[in-house]
């Protein structure tokens, strides 16, 4: 009897040497035989009806467990993937839920593609495909198997839309599905997204992952996530107390958020513990805030320093008020733009090093422009500060309009190199790479200038002319040459500032106007003739501005700084570090 029934099974045993044998799925049923009471080989089971009934029940159970998931992997998955392309956002959310429920290994990659906007529906047959741009057309691939499906134009396919809500949901689901991944980076981002959502349903999965985790950074994130989830559940007081301790030990802004939320739902005996924790975290956050403001102040100071130092040199050596200084900065920025475009067109391989080429190019170009201005205009106006002011103002307008005519009035995009994007965490601080590199650059420029002024013959001559022009001339120094070189050096440094500023400001013909006022403020405040004065001036103004900004707002902070400088100048007209014996009173 069982023989006949066995042959009606999907995979009937095939007889070999008169003995029925099973392979593959059949082996499960065959092995199940041996577990039956009085079991052994199936000829004995055939004899007892009870045994037979038990057998059939067990077989059905095995069928239900072993077969359906295997069938779902091959048959349901493409159908569920195609369901992603139907309907609006609520339907898409249900389709995502269905996909996640299958726990198939392909699902995280498919969901990531959906979130990145790479899944499209082919209009002809409503098939969901992975499309990557290949020239003007799109290369299509099957999202499950990755096999190529030909090409299509943008008219044949329609992008599957996701919104912020779906993207957040996908991130959560991928996080939960990849918590046990073998790839470290995937596990880390999974742990972070589990921490963000802190869904109590993931606690078991998290505990399992934590038991298997060896990487300390990921373990840290997972422990925090576990603590956050425990606080949300009805765990025991002691467990919650331990969880609170874990959260407090993390001590950052996220911990504060968690504790604030936990305070609402915590039992009364834990409330003082949480409040103590919150107080200590907010104290440490305040310290971190001050440190963060110091960082911001330093980066603003570096920008001011770069912009002002060229002015300090020309104003110090020659007593010339150069209103075209901001335009030198602007020219440096445009040189960066041009160099980047030239490299992108002719030598695309060197695109990452475009900044390295822009630095000498900007310096030389703006220095040349500076020398031309000095020789062409300023030379004739020595000893006449008002005329110099007007003449350089006119030059600034000419330069602005020239750039506007050549490049257009719109802003120009200078793409940041990869190593200047993003930020990194240092304790409780977030430091953006572009600003960090600008601080480094400002320090290098300042050091280089100090070396030029103190160690080179030209620098010696510049300092001599600054202290006493007549005497220096009498000693045989060619003052007109020194003047031209000084102006060139000052303008060149302004060009370098322009290179740095392309990373944090818009490149437009009028960008110099934003920096001329600040440069003059720094030079007037710090005193002329001494680079250290400019440095101190830049640092103090930058710090003051950044510490006032959170309280007074950006507009009022600038106004307050200006008023403070005016008051300061009343007491010390020469600035912080005035050079003694300067003949500026001429």
């Amino acid at each position: 009897m069982f023989d006949e029934l066995a042959h009606r099974l999907p995979n009937p045993p095939h007889k070999r040497d008169g003995v029925p044998r099973w392979t593959g799925n059949n082996r499960v049923k065959h092995t199940a035989q041996h577990l039956l009471p009085g079991g052994g080989d199936w000829e004995r089971g055939r004899r007892t009806l009870g045994g037979f009934v038990l057998l059939m029940a067990f077989l059905t159970a095995c069928l239900l467990i072993a077969v359906p998931p295997a069938m779902a992997q091959t048959a349901d998955l493409p159908a569920l993937v195609n369901a992603l392309g139907q309907g609006g956002f609520p339907e898409r959310e249900k389709a995502i839920d269905a996909l996640v429920a299958t726990s198939d290994v392909h699902v995280p990659a498919i969901l990531q593609a959906l979130s990145d906007g790479n899944l499209y529906t082919r209009k002809s047959d409503a098939l969901v495909v992975l499309a990557t741009k290949a020239g003007d057309a799109y290369a299509l691939k099957d999202p499950v198997s990755g096999s190529a499906l030909g090409t299509a134009t943008s008219d044949d396919i329609e992008k599957i839309k996701v919104n912020n809500g779906l993207r957040g949901k996908i991130r959560t689901e991928i996080g939960e599905m990849t918590l046990l991944s073998t790839d470290r980076a995937t596990r880390l981002s999974a742990a972070q997204s589990v921490l963000k959502t802190a869904d109590p349903a993931t606690l078991d999965l998290l505990k399992k992952a934590l038991a298997a985790e060896t990487d300390p950074q990921i373990k840290n994130v997972m422990e925090l996530a576990e603590a956050v989830i425990i606080l949300k559940t009805n765990a025991s007081i002691d467990e919650k107390r331990a969880a609170i301790a874990t959260v407090i030990s993390h001590g950052d802004r996220d911990a504060q958020t968690v504790l604030l939320a936990a305070l609402q739902t915590a039992p009364d005996e834990l409330k003082p513990v949480i409040e103590d924790g919150l107080a200590s975290i907010s104290r440490s956050l305040q310290l971190w805030d001050i440190a963060q403001n110091l960082i911001y102040g330093t980066s603003l100071a570096s920008v001011l320093l770069l912009a002002a130092i060229g002015l300090a040199i020309t104003f110090g050596v020659m007593g010339v008020i150069n209103m075209a200084h901001g335009e030198m900065v602007m020219l440096g920025a445009y040189v960066t733009f041009v160099v980047q475009n030239l490299i992108a067109t002719y030598v695309p391989g060197l695109a990452e090093y475009a900044m390295a080429f822009s630095i000498p190019a900007a310096f030389l170009f703006t220095a040349l422009v500076g020398v031309c201005i000095e020789r062409g205009v300023i030379r004739w106006l020595y000893g006449r500060p008002l005329e110099t002011l007007l003449a350089t103002w006119g030059i600034s307008l000419i330069l602005q309009q020239a750039v506007r005519t050549i490049f257009g009035a719109n802003n120009r995009l200078v793409a940041p190199p990869n190593w200047m994007t993003g930020a990194f965490e240092l304790g409780g601080l977030t430091i953006t790479w572009n600003r960090l590199w600008i601080v480094v650059f400002a320090v290098l420029v300042f050091t280089a200038l100090q070396l030029v002024l103190n160690r080179t013959p030209l620098g010696l001559q510049m300092r001599a002319v600054t202290q006493n022009r007549r005497m220096a001339s009498a000693m045989g120094i060619r003052t007109p040459f020194v003047d031209a070189m000084t102006f060139g050096l000052g303008s060149g440094v302004a060009g370098l500032a322009g290179v740095a500023l392309t990373q944090i400001d818009n490149v437009s013909p009028g960008m110099g106007q934003n920096y001329i006022i600040d440069s003059f403020m720094v030079v007037v405040f710090g005193g002329v003739g001494n680079l250290w004065g400019t440095l101190i001036g830049a640092v103090s103004l930058g710090m003051a501005n950044k510490f006032l900004e959170p309280y007074a707002g950006a507009v009022l902070a600038k106004i307050i700084i200006l008023v403070l400088i005016i008051l300061f100048i009343q007491r010390r007209p020469r600035g912080l570090f005035a050079l003694k014996g300067r003949a500026i009173e001429q």
């Binding site: 802004r253 911001y296 009035a409 572009n434």
Partner: protein, 435 residues
């Protein structure tokens, strides 16, 4: 010289002078002049230059169709250089000296407020194509851009809804001038009416062209980590947007965590930026280039052919300029003349199909009916529409959210006896309180 030659010389001179005086008049009869008043330099050039090009495109298209009233249209372009008082001077020049029939221009509300007295005094028409703060309904202005109830309020509603993230905490990040100040006044009142606590609203102002966003963006991050879903409503204008979005990307603020909805950032402003880190941030407009309708496709194709550059984008103010221009053409055709009062009488009630499949009608308060679309930034600088109103929304000049505007409407059906600030309760024409 004897008498006769002197008389002859005098007559010849007189004839020459009269001929000279008449000559420009003859030339003026052949074309209708259209004024284009947009900044081509300065901080607003990033946004306004493309509107100047759009006007040239639309005038060129109209001339190809035979012009207006049998005459060719001639654009007169001036550059007020993002300098608001200069806008007034240039407007006066366009109307009094160049004798334009209508002016298409302005972007910032400061520029519009600056030119209003000129248009009132010289009785010309300004077609204003940009979304703005409302609280205005003038006889001489047709507002083809969105009023707050067609942009700001629906955007806030979307963010409050489950689909938009059920936002509970709000940062209103703004540039310091009249448009953001008034819009924030309306939004703050609206949020409070919806039950948002004052400590859940943070308002911050920065100057035009602001580039050092470190502190502000860190403050947004801080405000957003209090455990409630936070969103930023941005009324930042001009090129300050570029460093703002760059700083958001650098400090790792993702749209899924703290979405930013902007009212003055469109395809044109994103054109010069790397948008891969901005995917998911939002904008609220009445038009997006990505909307797939035959009218939009035809408009984009025509625009690319005219400007000879397939990479140039289209945006909402361009659609508003398109609507304003075509409605003006319809009104002039209906009135049979370019005379201001006749055109203003003809224009109320006129309709023209917009580029997203609906119709724009000119309302008595000189606003249009417009659909509201919320779009998310994509990696290619385009917007994906994630929500839209089922039908067009009529623009309300005086926001009913503000207590002082309850029952106030604008009605210019009769341009001579109309009223911009009509109190329906007392049935009298009152003046708006000064802000």
């Amino acid at each position: 010289m004897t008498r006769l030659p002197r008389i002859a010389a005098g007559l010849a001179l007189g004839a020459a002078m009269t001929m000279g005086a008449f000559a420009p008049v003859f030339a003026a009869d052949d074309t209708i002049k259209v004024g284009v008043l947009h900044s081509l330099s300065g901080t607003m050039a990033i946004s306004e230059t493309t509107l100047k090009d759009t006007m040239l495109f639309l005038i060129d298209e109209q001339n190809k169709k035979g012009g207006l009233l049998g005459k060719k249209l001639e654009p007169v372009v001036v550059d007020p250089a993002s300098d608001w008082p200069l806008f007034a001077e240039k407007a006066r020049e366009l109307i009094a000296v160049d004798k334009v029939a209508a002016v298409f221009g302005c972007w910032t509300s400061s520029s519009r407020k600056s030119v209003l007295p000129v248009f009132k005094e010289l009785n010309s028409i300004l077609f204003y194509p940009v979304q703005y703060e409302g609280e205005e309904s003038e006889k001489n202005v047709i507002y083809t851009g969105a009023a707050p109830n067609q942009q700001a309020i629906p955007a806030v509603d979307y963010l409050m809804s489950p689909e938009g993230g059920s936002v509970k905490r709000w940062v209103l990040e703004a540039t310091d001038y009249v448009y953001p100040r008034t819009t924030n006044k309306i939004l703050e009142q609206y949020l409070k009416d919806k039950g948002v606590a004052p400590e859940d609203i943070k308002i911050n102002y920065t100057p035009f062209g602001f580039s050092d966003w470190q502190t502000e963006v860190a403050a947004i991050k801080d405000f957003g980590s209090a455990g409630k879903k936070t969103a930023v409503v941005s009324t930042i204008n001009g090129d300050a947007n570029v460093p703002f979005y760059k700083e958001l990307a650098n400090q790792g603020i993702k749209a899924e965590d703290i979405p930013v909805v902007a009212f003055s950032v469109g395809e044109e402003e994103l054109h010069g930026m790397d948008t891969t880190n901005l995917v998911g941030h939002l904008a609220a407009w009445n038009y997006f280039e990505s909307v797939d309708t035959p009218q939009n496709k035809a408009f984009i194709d025509g625009w690319h052919k005219f400007i000879k550059d397939d990479t140039r984008t289209t945006n909402d103010p361009m659609e508003a300029a398109y609507l304003g221009f075509n409605l003006w053409v319809e009104a002039v055709t209906k009135a049979g003349t370019t005379d201001t009062d006749a055109v203003l009488k003809a224009i109320v009630g006129l309709s023209y199909p917009n580029l997203t499949g609906g119709t724009a009608t000119v309302l008595p308060n000189h606003h249009l009916t417009k659909p509201v679309l919320i779009g998310e930034v994509q990696a290619d600088g385009q917007f994906d529409v994630v929500w839209k109103t089922p039908d067009v929304v009529p623009g309300q000049a005086w926001s009913p959210v503000l207590p002082e505007d309850k029952g106030i409407i604008g009605d210019w059906t009769d341009p001579i006896n109309g009223c911009g600030h009509f109190d329906t309760a007392t049935k009298t024409c009152t003046t708006a309180p000064s802000p």
